[in-house]
């Protein structure tokens, strides 16, 4: 296998916890956090359930000790909290000491501010500062500012696979020697825009999402942010850094089938997984756990399931689970929080449970791991797929 790129720090904030430790505690104790929505005034309040972080923007801003006249969107607040944790966890004191970059991911960006103030900008001068939040890179710029990071900063937006692509790009930048250290991840806050968008596609569940269940009715949206610090082996050696795990494989492909739906046989997903195996130089039987995309929409789980069976072979699928019943589908942040969960699975040798599963799908006999399972975990494969046919796969491996 290929050695992969070292992960030396991680940070996360999600509905199931404000730190890596809290997230882990929730995952191993079946503490899901799909609830009614509190922070957003929406007419769908009574019908939908979400994975919401129960903190107001003010509370988040206070934690970051931001000035009162700050113009952080909620997406930026969450992202900055997670990125700061990651940098601290990696023991970085001087961020520009090495060629350091930030590759962030978001789909919502500052939409939460745009939709809140859209018609008020002309009435209230104090709101004008939020107009610049809408642009895609605003979140990354704010995180970079808070980290005092001056080097390469960019943002990826490929809908629900965004953060997987950010992690992939970070790993490539280190492998090709363009950067020494890259902070990678993604952030998305809940917004009326996405709630209503997913509602028009009729893929929101009115209950709790049930990945890979025959009676699944759709997804719960969520909000979260997670970032990982990737460092070159030169830094790891020089500073004797602790390596949490490694990004050993990655693949990106396009389904080229439909603007929002996945193809019947999961071609894009299949190609992304195949590519990730090539990059990692691993065989499918070496995977100990798949953190599936598993959004619990009828379309995704069928398509992903078929792609998994094509790659792994019938009845040869390793333990798999979707962690979205815990957190909801956190869109551009999903692959980042699931990267953190993949590293936690490797560090603690556990497979997290796929909650809410009862009945196998009639199309195939794929049954997810429904309880916490302890076993040695060397390699985890994590899938993330987005609208526009964007399919990405990451493989994380134990550091030897």
């Amino acid at each position: 296998m290929n050695k992969g790129v070292a992960i030396t720090g991680m940070g996360i904030i999600s509905a199931i916890g404000n730190t890596v430790e809290e997230n882990y505690f929730s995952l191993v104790n079946n503490k899901a956090a799909i609830t009614s929505i509190e922070n957003i005034p929406t007419v769908h309040k009574a019908v939908i359930k979400v994975g919401e972080i129960k903190k107001t923007n003010q509370q988040l801003a206070d934690e970051l000790q931001l000035a009162a006249d700050n113009n952080f969107s909620r997406t930026a607040l969450l992202g900055t909290i997670a990125a700061k944790q990651a940098v601290q966890n990696a023991g970085i004191s001087s961020i520009n000491e090495y060629r350091t970059g930030l590759i962030s991911a978001t789909s919502v960006g500052g939409m939460d501010m745009t939709e809140t103030h859209y018609y008020d900008y002309f009435e209230n001068e104090n709101l004008v500062k939020y107009i610049s939040c809408h642009e895609g890179g605003d979140v990354a710029h704010k995180i970079a500012d808070e980290l005092d990071l001056q080097g390469m900063v960019t943002t990826i937006s490929t809908a629900c696979s965004s953060a997987a692509n950010a992690i992939m790009l970070g790993a490539r930048l280190i492998k090709t020697g363009k950067l020494d250290r890259v902070i990678v991840g993604g952030t998305d806050a809940l917004a009326k825009f996405t709630i209503n968008g997913f509602k028009t596609l009729m893929i929101l569940s009115d209950g709790y999402n049930m990945p890979f269940d025959n009676d699944r009715k759709g997804l719960n949206l969520g909000e979260a942010a997670a970032y990982l610090v990737l460092e070159s082996d030169a830094i790891v050696e020089k500073e004797n850094k602790k390596v949490l795990a490694r990004v050993s494989g990655y693949g990106n492909a396009n389904d080229a089938f439909h603007q929002t739906a996945s193809s019947e046989n999961g071609e894009g997903a299949f190609l992304a997984m195949e590519k990730a195996f090539q990059v990692a130089n691993l065989k499918s039987e070496q995977i100990d756990y798949i953190n599936v995309h598993g959004t619990a929409t009828p379309n995704n789980d069928l398509s992903e399931g078929r792609a998994i069976m094509r790659i792994f072979g019938e009845n040869k699928t390793p333990d798999f689970s979707s962690t979205k019943p815990f957190t909801g589908h956190t869109l551009a942040a999903a692959a980042a929080i699931e990267a953190v969960y993949s590293v936690l699975a490797i560090q603690n040798n556990v497979v997290f449970p796929n909650l809410n599963f009862k009945t196998p799908m009639e199309e195939f006999n794929l049954v997810p791991q429904t309880t916490l399972k302890h076993k040695n975990i060397e390699h985890v494969l994590s899938n993330s797929f987005g609208f526009g046919g964007n399919c990405s796969t990451l493989i994380f491996s134990k550091s030897i």
Binding site: T200, M202, H258, Q259, A261
Partner: protein
């Protein structure tokens, strides 16, 4: 019923931006999806909203659309029986 079918044709052309299609191009029994007009699943979602907005019919499962939206004829019949406005 004839008036309703005519109305549906007009609405479909407008809602789905079928600029190059004329009213007389759509026959009552022509399939709307696939080979006929060539509509797709996103169009189906648009039509579901039209049912709700204009006729007060709420569909919860997009799969129901498959049967209802087979043709102008099937749509017309469904609306006639289920409309609340």
């Amino acid at each position: 019923m004839e008036a309703l079918k005519q109305e549906l044709k007009e609405k479909i052309i407008a809602v789905l931006n079928l600029e190059d299609i004329n009213l007389e191009d759509i026959n009552d029994n022509d399939p709307l999806f696939g080979d006929g007009l060539g509509l797709d699943s996103i169009d189906a979602l648009e039509l579901i909203v039209m049912l709700d907005k204009d006729y007060g019919i709420k569909l919860v499962d997009p799969k129901e659309g498959k049967v209802i939206f087979q043709s102008i004829e099937t749509m017309g019949n469904y609306i006639k029986e289920n409309r609340t406005k």
